[in-house]
């Protein structure tokens, strides 16, 4: 079994969006989901496309065109779903993220999640 390639943070966001959208994962919905996950940062649709292409080249996701729909000027949607390798890569990176969370929580406590880290840090210094 090949080792999944490591993925960056934005790639994790896009893959999580695909995973959560299931059958309905295509450009517009993935972009909306990524914007939700990346709050308060805004994300451009183009950046999502570029990442989807990169993930497809890494064979972490796979895509196909659906039938054309009138609401889109008779154009098809490109649907995406995670490949097995992609699921493993996302799982590994989620575990890493969890370990980071645990470590942060151990040092800064639970309240670190409810406050802006910078203001919290400066409060501690006082």
């Amino acid at each position: 079994m090949s080792k999944p390639p490591s993925i960056g943070q934005f790639e994790q966001l896009v893959m999580t969006a695909i995973l959560s959208l299931g059958e309905n994962a295509y450009g517009v919905t993935i972009h909306a989901q990524v914007e939700k996950l990346a709050q308060p940062k805004s994300v451009s649709l183009g950046a999502v496309y570029a990442t989807l292409d990169r993930l497809e080249d890494k064979r972490l996701i796979v895509s196909w065109l659906s039938d054309p729909t009138p609401a889109r000027g008779g154009r098809s949607k490109r649907h995406y779903r995670l490949e097995q390798l992609g699921e493993r890569a996302l799982h590994e990176s989620a575990l890493t993220a969890r370990r980071i969370c645990d470590a942060v929580e151990r040092i800064w406590g639970v309240k670190a999640w409810n406050q802006n880290p910078r203001s919290w840090k400066s409060a501690r210094q006082h």
């Binding site: 295509y26 450009g27 517009v28 972009h31 451009s44 649709l45 183009g46 950046a47 496309y49 570029a50 292409d53 990169r54 497809e56 080249d57 064979r59 796979v62 196909w64 065109l65 659906s66 054309p68 729909t69 609401a71 889109r72 000027g73 154009r75 098809s76 949607k77 490109r78 649907h79 779903r81």
Partner: protein, 369 residues
Amino acid sequence: MEPEPSKLEVRPPALVDAVIRMLIPPACREHVLGDLWEQYTSPRQYVVDALRTLPFVIWSQIRRTLDPLRLAMQVLPAFVFFGGLVGRPGADGGPVWFRAAVPAIALAVAMVVRDAYCWPKYPSSRQAALDAGLAVASAFASQGAFAMAWPELTLPPREALMGGFGTFLAVFSLRAAAPPKTGFRSLLSATGSLSVDNVFRDAQEFERRIRQRNRREILAGVLVILGFGVGLWRGPNLVARVGCALVMAGALFIIYRLRTRAVASPIPLDTHAHALAAYRRELEVQRDLLRTVTSWYLLPLLPGVAVLTLGQALALAQPAPPLLVLVSFLLFGVLTRQLNQRGARKLQDKIDELVTLEMQDGREADDRR
């Protein structure tokens, strides 16, 4: 009374849509344009969204299609044909290589952009000719631009024309033989499973491509024999004539090999199992042919080119220019080998997919029993 415009008719202005459609690379045009339509609220928003999206999709397409090996195989002959190795120095004694590098770089830029805007399919001969025309036009355009600012750095018209002709042939043969790189594209259907229909279409397309390739290579071989036949008759000395004869013999061997080992067998489309097995066998034959390209395609030409180089060096009493041509031939040979090895790996990927499909078919047949 005229009917009221329906709310469903909210759509981008036709002209704006046409311009944006033209700017989006064809490989992603369908879904990107569809997504932009879906989010349309006003012409201004549509244009802003499109302008924010375009740089990403163009860059992504350039990244996906940029193929340094294939690019080098277009730029290197252009540099040689425009006299980068053996050209005459200009009136001001400026570097010869620089004058040849300018059109070669312009060609490289044009071909990178062209590849990003290619339809993701195997190119036809007509498309390859148009691309080669674009490559030469961009090289000439660079000469035009330089002529206005730095005329001393442009090529003499005769050298530019000769170089343009040679470059056209080199770029045409490369682009007709080697398709542009595309992103990973599997034989998956809309349901996300391997589709037999996709495989059938792929098999027919593959068979057609192999036939076209063989016709093209045989024609090129005949032209080489004719061209070097003239050299055999009018060569400057005996060594050069022997070199020409050896090149002709090498080209004859390549034609013989193509006629005997590389012929595309028709793929029967009667049953799934037959078609899959035949297609897989055909892919294996062509994969092995690409893997062994050094022994049957490159090595047969090498002795002739080496002897011809020696003959030219003796005739000119100057070994450097013919030696540089020999070195560039060797480099071109190495690049050709690499390109074919990569082609063999791609075929292997496809073979692996077909094996999976054959196993699926076998399991389904067992279940039915």
